[in-house]
Amino acid sequence: MDTFAALAHGMAVAIQPVNLLYALIGVFLGTAVGVLPGIGPALTVALLLPVIYKLDPGGSLIMFAGIYYGGMYGGSTTAILINTPGESASMATALEGNKMAKAGRGGPALATSAIGSFVAGTIATIGLAFLAPWLVDFAVRFGPEDYFALMCVAFVTVSATFGDSPIRGLTSLFIGLTLGLVGIDKLTGQARLAFGVPELLDGVEVTTLAVGLFAVGEALYVASRRHHSEEKLEPVRGSLWMTKEDWKRSWKPWLRGTMFGFPIGALPAGGAEIPTFLSYSTEKRLTKYPEEFGKGAIEGVAGPEAANNASAAGTLVPLLTLGLPTSATAAMMLAGFQQYGLNPGPLLFAERPDLVWGLIASLFIANVMLLVLNLPLVGLWVRLLAIPQPWLYAGILVFATMGTIAAKPSVVELSMLAGFGVLGFLMRRFDFPIAPVVVGLILGPIAESQLRRALAISLGDPMTLLQSPISATLLGIALIALLAPFVLKGLGRFKANED
């Protein structure tokens, strides 16, 4: 079969010593940065992007794969040992894992999350390898109007459907869309929103936005509420290894978590929160030890961790086949591709199969490396967690600004970084989600150019959007997804009034 041949070819690329070294460095850096409290996988990728942009595309994408999975693993270590999930998808892990660590079972908690991540990551990557070619066959038939409709679905699902408030999610999205307008219009060469500043003609750099919003914003936010609580690091006591009982209680949650994570991640709906919480509630319902839930049940770590990793691999399906990022991390991966002028999508599979399949094969390798490296090295990661907070955040800020200084050492760019930091701080304080801003900045210009291309082909007739069955269906889905939360909220209010 084609997939096997392609995957074997990818393996041949990934297994070259240089590429293995890249994967190893990626896994190591990803875990080291991801383990720092408050830094999720998206920020890990964003921080390390400028560092690797001198490498060739193949090698750096392979390093990416390692950084991605390493960042995920590091995030769950933090969630278990100090109960500060770097992202909402690790919240379920923190719930049970931190209790386990407090009860002296931090070792098994880390082990089940590492092995579960490995199992889920491997199964989900196989799923990716088989689903991707099939989706690519489908996607080559997409016209510009269909792409535009697909982006509309992504816009709505990323911002409106799953947040607490669709209005705040959409507000974030539109801030991102506004930032995406800045710069020279590609079709006519006219400057938009540049206000005569030459640095703005190139548009807003995705890494500057992401690092500003995530890293600088987070540092400001944590500093502003430092007086609230002190984080407490749980030492890893007792055995690192899982007992027979732990294995027996873990393997089914791993598989069930994978079943939740991969399909939901692969849908252009985004977010690992839904599958992790689905997995958590399912395990809570199915467990033989319901009394342990909330006090450190191993199922509550195994399931959500597997779901989290599986959905991370799942988000690579729309990213690689359609060029559609549905999470902040996927958006950063897309920025990484764009750094080399590569546009993920059906064409990339045809033009650079070595790159795409090398990346997919590297995901397998990164997974194995993480399993082998992380448990023995857990002592090292714990030591990273013990860095005093002032130095930790000072270091994060130095590292964050360093990326921008290395890429574009201009006063304007650095001021933008600081400005986005303030924006990120305010958005955290007023509870606006951050990922839609990044997705809006990346997808906004693409959606616009697809729409304009579609309208140019149809000689300006907007009905072209409804005449293509694919586009009409997708726009319908987008509309339903946009209106559903408002309707449901209305129903909820109606009910509340009745009571």
Partner: protein
């Protein structure tokens, strides 16, 4: 930004929310104003000015939505925030930008940011932190400059190396 007053009673007009709504409306106005200066050259379909107007309409609608939320006091409860560390970090960033802008170089600039951030998080040992920062940023500079051959801005300190 308002600080202080934690656990504000719900269902009260949220002043910060009104400011947010006003800012969104202002942004929409800027978009429309900027789009008016663009000339449509597209023969068919939409020119460069169409998308900004669409985004501006969206922002205007969201400004109204946020305004209603603020009037109803629907914003989630906020914990009190301490403005001092935030201002300190922002001073650090301003110092970094100024030092880079005036050619002070990478090492001095990042050291200034390190020390102010560390102070914002409660450290008072400015001298020790300053030495740590200088050593660390010098090492980073050397690693980037020599190993990765990325060029970082140079100043008086970098020229000595």
């Amino acid at each position: 930004m308002s600080s202080g007053d934690p656990a504000r009673p719900p269902r009260r007009v949220d002043r910060a929310g009104i400011v947010i709504a006003a800012l969104l409306a202002g942004l929409a106005a800027v978009l429309v104003f900027d789009a008016r200066g663009l000339s449509s050259t597209a023969m068919y379909g939409m020119g460069p000015e169409a998308m900004p107007v669409v985004v501006a309409c969206g922002l205007a609608l969201l400004a109204i939505g946020n305004f209603i939320d603020a009037l109803r006091g629907n914003l989630p409860a906020r914990e009190s925030a301490d403005p001092v560390p935030v201002v300190l970090i922002l001073i650090g960033l301003a110092l970094l930008i100024a030092i880079i802008g005036f050619g002070g170089g990478f090492i001095l600039a990042t050291s200034a940011l390190f020390v102010t951030t560390s102070a914002a998080f409660g450290r008072r040992a400015i001298l020790v932190d300053g030495i740590i920062a200088l050593v660390m940023s010098t090492l980073i500079y050397l690693a980037f400059d020599r190993l990765l051959t990325l060029s970082l801005p140079t100043g008086p300190l970098e020229r000595l190396l």
